[in-house]
Amino acid sequence: MKIDVELKNVTKKYGEIVAVDDVSFAVERGQFFSLLGPSGCGKTTTLRMISGFETPTEGEIFIEGKPMTNVPPFKRPTNLVFQNLALFPHMNVFDNIAFGLRIKKVPENEIQKRVKEMLELVRLPGYEKRKISQLSGGEKQRIAIVRALVNRPAVLLLDEPLGPLDLKLREEMIVELKRIKREVGTTFIYVTHDQGEALTMSDKIVVMNKGKVVQIGTPMEIYEKPKSKFVADFIGGTNFFEGKYTEGAVEVDGLGKISIESGAHVSKKTLLLSVKPEKICIGKKLKKVDNIFDGKVTESFYQGRAITYKVLLENDSLITVVAPSYGMERVFGIGEKVKVGWNKEDARVIT
């Protein structure tokens, strides 16, 4: 597999503050690659270093195998879709998309052809003469994406472009982005704090926290096999249990034994378990589950597709349970005594 973008031990410091701390990863050609993390984790700074607007304090960035230090943004084979889109307000849609091509002195008839192709790609044919102020949020988004794509960059960089959209439009744009990605085949590097977006679209995700890479993997690996407490909690939220390991189970104070999958665990060692809320079942009677505990519902939120319960266990720990709203016995009320349970393969050992 060809590597399009590679970061080797990249660090960015602003005075005393370390924004990006020794980050390394490689993006393969044609991948949809996401940088995921909470705000302030350094993901946008990383993206801006790839696009050339920030210079790494240490380390090196390679694009298509070439080192990029001292290459200014306007000479890099990357194009960025800005967080606020940054469409030129004094130009119409055509001139916005043609901007990069005109600078590269592409012949005018070629420009006409490529802009037309791009507008067809995002299903906005005939929009050439529109003013930017006349476009809706979703339309602006599409124009910003093709204004970057029309230059046929080696890598398309996207800096949380879906942030300002409402939920429905965002879901539409996610589908749209995946389709565009499939049709053009360009490598995408996508920055987001929204784990839903990252999981849905990416081939590979880099999870960042406090300037450091905490985990790299496919969406499923990141979600199902978090390697740290941070990843387990940040991606979709989770329930933690801590206890000492004894013979295929973890002994949690005041709760009892939680059986886990056999592994090379040392006896008497403290382990941290993560159990995702949707892996926990809830009911008056539970069968065919490995771990069952008594609890009391303290809160319930009806959310259409699912119901989220907060359940207080006997050791006074509060866990979150997400129950699908199909095939439910019934909705449990606050204060009701229930049983919660999960299979041993769903209790993931973090440490």
Partner: protein, 300 residues
């Protein structure tokens, strides 16, 4: 206006507010009518009248004689042309200088931007007359600059360009106007979203291309406002040419001043003033056509 707003504007409550709004602007309009419109109309009427040089009675009305006086006398036409030329020169140089300073403050200065901006306005603490008199001392064939250069042996005789002439008028007016013009240009530069400049670079534009294709076009409203700010007062200027203009730096405003206050030919002076007014109105209209009026005002 969407239907909802329309509905709202018809409700009795909004009508009351509208009425109150009108009451708020009425005094200002009355004031303008008394202090501006009436004098302008009087001048306009006077320009078509012929007054008796001694008795000041109206001899004939309407007549084009006053305008003929202007366009048949070559001396007056020369002064008019010089005034136009000087005004254009002052406008270009002061707006250009102000643009450079505004650009520097906006993009290159990170700390204490507004203090530096304010510091440029310091010259206006001194009265215009004082500043002009200071210039009068500096300039002139035997002024401070020339005598200094000569005593240091740098020049054998006085530099004629620094005497009292049109060049000095241009120099003085440019120097007095440009700090004030920094403000509107700064405002429109400051308004430009920085990500637009990054987007331009990201799409392959060098810093120079980015300036020409993005920064400058987006700062045009501020530039146009600055042009208005300097063009309108400069074309009617008569103090600076009187102080540092000598005989060759005389401007059209001086002619009007003389007709009104020295020759007591208010009729001819009025015709000259109306000519100037027409040029200003024309210039303003051209600028407003070039860029929408609303857009221009937004940048203020």
């Amino acid at each position: 206006m969407n239907p909802r707003e329309k509905e709202a504007s018809q409700s009795p409550k909004t009508k009351k507010i509208e009425l109150r709004g009108i009451l708020l602007v009425v005094p200002t309009y009355l004031w303008l009518i008394v202090t501006f419109l009436i004098p302008v109309i009087s001048v306009l009427m006077l320009s078509f009248a012929e007054l008796h040089p001694v008795t000041k009675n109206i001899v004939s009305f309407p007549t084009m004689n006053n305008y003929l006086t202007l366009f048949t006398n070559l001396d007056y036409v020369v002064v008019l042309l010089r005034t136009l030329l000087l005004t254009v020169a002052v406008t270009i140089s002061s707006v250009g200088l102000a643009y450079a300073v505004a650009y520097f403050i906006t993009f290159k200065i990170m700390k204490n931007k507004y203090t530096i901006l304010l510091a440029f306005q310091a010259p206006y603490i001194a009265s215009y007359m004082m500043v002009l008199l200071a210039w009068r001392l500096l300039l002139g064939r035997s002024g401070v600059i020339n005598s200094l250069l000569m005593s240091m042996g740098l020049t054998s005789g006085p530099i004629e360009l620094l005497g009292y002439n049109a060049f000095s008028v241009w120099l003085v007016l440019t120097a007095t106007w440009f700090p004030w013009l920094i403000l509107p240009i700064f405002v429109s530069l400051e308004k430009i979203d920085r990500s637009l400049l990054e987007a331009s670079q990201d799409l392959g534009a060098s810093p120079l291309t980015t300036f020409l294709k993005v920064t400058f076009p987006l700062s045009l409203p501020g530039v146009f406002v600055a042009i208005l700010f300097v063009f309108i007062p400069t074309i009617g200027e008569f103090v600076a040419p009187a102080v540092v203009g000598g005989t060759t730096g005389l401007m059209f405003g001086n002619l009007i001043y003389d007709f009104f206050l020295k020759g007591f030919r208010w009729d001819i002076g009025s015709a000259f003033a109306v000519c100037l007014l027409c040029i200003v109105i024309l210039a303003v209209l051209v600028l407003f056509r070039k860029i929408g009026f609303e857009k221009l005002m937004e940048s203020l």
